[in-house]
Symmetry: C3
Subunit: 315 residues, 3 copies
């Protein structure tokens, strides 16, 4: 069965991006493929882009959608095995996953990192449970450690703005008042392994990502030096992986500014959104013609559509 | 007008179950019937199976759906007549029901028992008001005293697993930490009146169901004795009807275990879900090949579809 | 680009009402026009009629719908420019509006007056921001100062019940326990400027509407005198515009009663709903054959459909 869990398991990244580009030109060309097929969209957390773009992708393919804010609309789920369920949770994931598999041909799930217990987040209990106890393909709408649909949209965006030369791409940490997951950064790194590019990660001390994911990729602590000659600045905050889930610094020294962008080769600015203005990035950068954030969001529809299309084809 | 309020009012139970079996084999055969027709799905309470299966049933029939978590998405409703509405409720059911009747061709409503005032729950104010003040067919998605769509799915499941001999069916009370309504049990009992089966209800002292509903049906307090030679064990917790809404015991003596199932004729295990593992039923029973709970949930789609189909046909 | 912000900007009120009347006779005649088109429905506030009727209008036109309770399902939005976003809001309206414009062909938005700061409400920050930063048509589902879809439905209702003579229409304030916006009253007044009718506004002292909107229209403080010979009584509560957002009186002297209705020329009673019985209006009036409130609600579908149709045509 074809799941989209992380990009490491996804069969053909470049084929998916190429398919997405075709859907961008002709979104309704495969309306017949999804007719009578149903996707369940389950949200444990808020969503704007992911919700709208994935629902639209499904509609473009002629599919029906069943959308559920699962903990409010449904029942509080239990994920532990062997427990005596006499507390707040009403339904075990074993039943929930098996039941949803009766109603849907595939299920897409958002379940963020809780950032309290690293081992627990790394275990990816929600998505793993749906893959284990369900019987239909599972699509990751951002899990504890991965956001592959975002990375696929980013890959399409990089492709659309590809320079004539081998590009330099910088993934730069940026400040944020709250503790955020590493999921977007992780998936961006995984995606970059498939690109012909010089790729550097820049982050302050204490903010190294999971070393298994970044193995072999240059990681530097000098942000401005990293920006020199860059063609793409991909910015994202994440909380500490070592001091798991902690916000180690509250200054704005790593905010993306016009001065820093001036060090680049007129680089494009990228961010997955939502973005906090004048904390993560200065207004002047976000509102500049070099900002690709809206195009990235637009590409979410077509890469999601390519993923659903692949899953529909594989049955 | 054809409402599905309780099974007592529903015209042809066996015909509906037979129709459901046909839809299970060919879900999209009546796509044209619902084209341009709209069902409103109104939830006063959480729902997973009922929400997804009924929405899917409507989509299978080509209908449009309008889904509303009514107290959050809409306005707090007033049900009392003649009141001066200067408190928290903003809209009277008379207007709400009449208005929704303008937008929908039928309306399906979930409104659980509150378990505080028996007479009030028995009055079924929400569904009765919609039937009285609305002008479209009303479908019960679990009301204070009845859950007929569940019982119809159970009837289909019983039919699919029908043994060669006249079966023995046991409805067994089971423990639960919270006070639950009697609705599922009530509808199961009503449905069993239409079956060729030996039917017994087993429950501890103080847990007799509404005597009007169970009239003439053997009710026993010896659970294990009831299980002997049973072909189906249908399990459900409910709070006390006599000491209305109370949880009278907190022990797990009535939990369904492998030892108890061993007393049966290799009985199938049934439950409407969600189910609390190791409180209502032991893991070993729920995870055994004799458990039909996922198939029951699956059948929800097709029996709902048969009900909507009947209502569409009757106009 | 054709927005429906207030009726002052809308191109052809009578043409829209005539189109709505056609859709009422034949709702599905333009199913092909919306095929593959998407409307986003964004709710910052509760909605029953507006939500259901607009979603249905879109479905009647063959459109896809993406419905979002934006502050719960999505991210808390920031509307101020130049702020350092290190507080509760996660996403700036500049990005949200631009992103939603990628997924939808038009967006319909409900964002009530907060009734705390008149200048802020008058600025209509939410809708103005979507019009400014988005790139798709915006439809007002009730904003701080206007509810044009309601007024269009009211225009259709007036047309359907048009007497042979030039009618007298009274907009009468009525009591309410909570502070309500002026939006519905404002739009009704704007709509009445397009009607051949004698139009009077009746309200107690302190409850004058925005003088810019009511300029030149007779406003009286003698409710009963205003009712004499009226053909239509349109009732609505609003909080004070002068003492902005305040509830200046708690008596029921201005409630609409049968005694007051007896002063009219057998007037039709109108209200946008939801309505508080025996506070705004006595049961006997609301339940009388002269009450048009359910028909008004029904007309919401067809006037919304005419608006979406016009926007689809204009591209």
């Amino acid at each position: 069965m074809t799941h989209l869990f992380t990009l490491d398991q996804w069969p053909d990244l470049h084929g998916t991006v190429a398919q997405a580009e075709q859907f961008k030109n002709n979104p309704l060309v495969q309306q017949a493929l999804g007719r009578g097929k149903t996707i369940g969209l389950l949200f444990f957390n808020p969503s704007l882009r992911t919700r709208m773009s994935t629902e639209k992708a499904a509609q473009n393919l002629g599919m029906n959608t069943l959308v559920l804010n699962i903990n409010q609309d449904g029942w509080l789920l239990e994920f532990e095995d062997g427990t005596v369920m006499n507390n707040s949770s009403s339904e075990h994931i074993r039943e929930a996953a098996a039941v949803i598999s009766q109603y849907c041909d595939m299920v897409a799930i958002r379940a963020f990192a809780e950032l309290k217990d690293r081992a627990k987040d790394q275990a990816e209990q929600v998505l793993q449970s749906f893959m284990r106890y369900g019987s239909i393909p599972v699509v990751n709408l951002e899990s504890a450690t991965a956001h592959p649909l975002q990375a696929l949209a980013d890959a399409l965006t990089l492709r659309e703005y590809q320079p004539a030369h081998r590009p330099k791409v910088v993934l730069s940490w940026a400040p944020h008042p709250k503790a955020l997951p590493q999921a977007v950064a992780n998936s961006f790194v995984r995606m970059m392994r498939h690109q012909e590019a010089d790729f550097v990660i820049a982050h302050p001390g204490g903010y190294a990502l999971d070393p298994i994911i970044t193995q072999g990729i240059p990681c530097v602590k000098a942000q401005e030096k990293a920006f020199v000659d860059a063609d793409f600045i991909y910015t994202k905050n994440w909380s500490s992986f070592d001091s798991y889930g902690e916000v180690l610094r509250h200054d704005l020294d790593w905010m993306i500014t016009s001065e820093k962008m001036a060090l680049t080769r007129s680089a494009k600015f990228m961010h997955c959104l939502p973005v906090r203005r004048n904390v993560v990035v200065a207004d002047a950068v976000l509102d500049s013609p070099n900002s690709l954030v809206i195009e990235q969001a637009n590409n979410r529809t077509y890469t999601a559509q390519a993923v659903l299309h692949k899953i529909l084809q594989n049955g």
